[in-house]
C-alpha cells in the first residue's frame, strides 16, 4: 500500500482542508458579528454545532458500514466502521468539552445535564464498549463482528436516548436552539462555512484512519502467515 500522503488526491484534500480551516478561524474571530450578552462565548457555537453533525455522521457510518460488514463479510467495510467509530468518538469528546466551556460563563455551571450533552455522553459510553469489544472480544474475525453489532445497537439507541433524556428532566434548560432561518445572514453564512470546513476535516480524518486500519490489518495478516 502506498503511504497515504503520497497519493495526489489526499495531498489536495489535506491542503484544501487546512486552507479552509484557517479561513474559517479568521471568519469566526474577526468577521462574524459579536452577539449581545454572550460576546466571545457565542463563538463556540461555530465549533460546537458542526462537531455534533460530524459525530452523528461518523457514528452513522460506523453503524451502516458495520451492517454491511456483517452482511457481506468484506473486511473493507469493517475498516470503514472502525474509522467512523473512532473519529465519531473523538468528535463526541469534543462536544462534551466545548459544551461545558460555553455553559460555564453563560449558565454559571459547567455541567447541568443538558439533554443533548447527556445523550452524547451516553452514546460516548456505548462506543467505549465498542472499542473494548474490539480489544477484548477475541480473535479479529469475532471481535470485529461483535463491535459491528454494538455500533448498530448504539445508533438504534439514539432516538430513544434523546427522547428519554429530554422528557427525563423537563426543568433542565435546553441550550438555545438556534432558529437558523431567523439568524442574521452574516452569522448564518459563517456558520454554514464552518459546517463545510468541519465536514472536510471529518472526511480527511476518516479516510486517513481507514488507511491506517488497512495497514494494521495487513500487518496482522502477514504476522499470522509468517
Amino acid at each position: 500500500m502506498r503511504p497515504f500522503h503520497t497519493i495526489r488526491g489526499n495531498q489536495i484534500l489535506l491542503l484544501v482542508t487546512l486552507a479552509i480551516a484557517a479561513l474559517n478561524l479568521y471568519l469566526i474571530y474577526f468577521v462574524s458579528p459579536m452577539v449581545q450578552d454572550q460576546e466571545m462565548a457565542q463563538k463556540i457555537f461555530y465549533y460546537h454545532v458542526p462537531l455534533a453533525w460530524n459525530a452523528f455522521f461518523s457514528y452513522l457510518l460506523a453503524a451502516v458500514a458495520g451492517g454491511l460488514y456483517l452482511a457481506k463479510g468484506d473486511t473493507r467495510w469493517d475498516r470503514w466502521s472502525l474509522a467512523g467509530a473512532e473519529i465519531g468518538t473523538m468528535f463526541a469528546l469534543l462536544i462534551l468539552i466545548t459544551g461545558p466551556i460555553w455553559a460555564t460563563p453563560i449558565w454559571g455551571k459547567a455541567w447541568s445535564w443538558e439533554p443533548r450533552l447527556t445523550s452524547t455522553l451516553i452514546l460516548f459510553l456505548v462506543f467505549m464498549g465498542y472499542f473494548m469489544v474490539r480489544e477484548f472480544g477475541g480473535p479479529y474475525e469475532q471481535s470485529s463482528r461483535y463491535a459491528a453489532v454494538i455500533g448498530i445497537l448504539g445508533v438504534l439507541l439514539i432516538p430513544f436516548v434523546v427522547l428519554a433524556v429530554t422528557w427525563w428532566a423537563p426543568e433542565v434548560q435546553n441550550h438555545p436552539q438556534m432558529e437558523m432561518t431567523g439568524q442574521p445572514g452574516s452569522i448564518l453564512r459563517i456558520f454554514l462555512f464552518s459546517l463545510f470546513s468541519f465536514s472536510l476535516i471529518m472526511i480527511y480524518l476518516i479516510r486517513y484512519r481507514r488507511h491506517i486500519g488497512e495497514l494494521v490489518l495487513n500487518k496482522m495478516r502477514a504476522g499470522e502467515e509468517a
Binding site: V126, G129, V133, Y146, V149, I150, L153, L157
Partner: protein, 222 residues
C-alpha cells in the same frame, strides 16, 4: 413442536432443576436493598423520592448477575456449539433464551417486591396493576438487549468484565422510563399523565427484539 418451544422448555427445565440463577439473583437483590437502606438511612422520609431509583438499580444489577449466568451452561462441554449446529433457526434460539430470561427476571422481581414494600416502606395499594405493566415492559427490553450482549460478551475471553460495560449504557432509556413510570405509578397519578413512558418502553422492546432476532445470527457464528 417448534424450535422456539424446545429451547424455551430446555432453558426453563434446566433452571427449575437447579434454581441456581433464581437463588443467586434473589439473594443478591436482598443484599442490595440492605446496602441501599443502610447507605441512605431509609428511616428519613426523604427516601421516598429515591425509592423508584433504588428499586430499578437493584433490578438492573440482579439482571446483570443473571445474564452472567445465562450462557454458563452453554460454555460447558461445547453445548452451545451443539445447539447452534442443530437445525433450529438462530432467531428462535435467541427469542427462546430471551423469553426464558424474561420469566426468570419477572419471578425474581415479583418475589422481591414485597421485601421492598417492607424495607423501604412502599405504599403500593392500587398502584400494583400499573407497576406490573411497567415491570413487564421494562423486563422485555432488558431481556432483549441483555441476551444479545450476553451472547457476544460471554464468548469473549474477558466477557465477565465486558458485559456490564456494554449492557448498562444500552439500557439507559429503560432505566429512565422505568424509574419515571414507577414514580408516577406509586404517586397514584392518572396513567394518561405518564403513558409516554410506557410508549417509549414498548417501542424500545419492539425495536430491540426485532434487531436482536436478526443480529443474533451474526454473533453466534464461530
Amino acid at each position: 413442536m417448534s424450535s422456539f418451544a424446545v429451547v424455551l422448555g430446555k432453558e426453563l427445565r434446566l433452571e427449575w432443576r437447579t434454581r441456581e440463577s433464581l437463588a443467586v439473583m434473589l439473594v443478591f437483590s436482598l443484599t442490595v436493598i440492605l446496602l441501599f437502606a443502610l447507605a441512605f438511612n431509609v428511616a428519613a422520609t426523604k427516601i421516598q423520592t429515591f425509592v423508584p431509583g433504588l428499586l430499578w438499580m437493584t433490578y438492573f444489577f440482579s439482571a446483570a448477575l443473571g445474564l452472567l449466568r445465562s450462557f454458563g451452561r452453554e460454555r460447558e462441554m461445547e453445548a452451545y456449539d451443539l445447539l447452534l449446529s442443530s437445525p433450529a433457526d438462530r432467531g428462535s434460539i435467541y427469542l427462546a433464551k430471551a423469553s426464558a430470561f424474561l420469566l426468570l427476571l419477572l419471578t425474581v422481581q415479583i418475589i422481591s417486591l414485597p421485601l421492598f414494600v417492607l424495607f423501604l416502606d412502599l405504599q403500593i395499594g392500587t398502584a400494583l396493576g400499573p407497576l406490573l405493566l411497567v415491570l413487564l415492559l421494562a423486563d422485555i427490553g432488558i431481556s432483549a438487549v441483555g441476551m444479545l450482549v450476553a451472547g457476544l460478551s460471554l464468548r469473549s475471553p474477558r466477557g465477565e468484565t465486558l458485559l456490564p460495560i456494554l449492557l448498562f449504557p444500552l439500557l439507559t432509556p429503560i432505566l429512565i422510563a422505568a424509574t419515571r413510570a414507577t414514580g408516577a405509578a406509586l404517586a397514584l397519578r392518572p396513567m394518561a399523565e405518564w403513558d409516554m413512558w410506557l410508549m417509549l418502553l414498548f417501542t424500545y422492546c419492539v425495536v430491540f427484539t426485532l434487531a436482536g432476532s436478526f443480529i443474533f445470527d451474526y454473533i453466534s457464528e464461530q
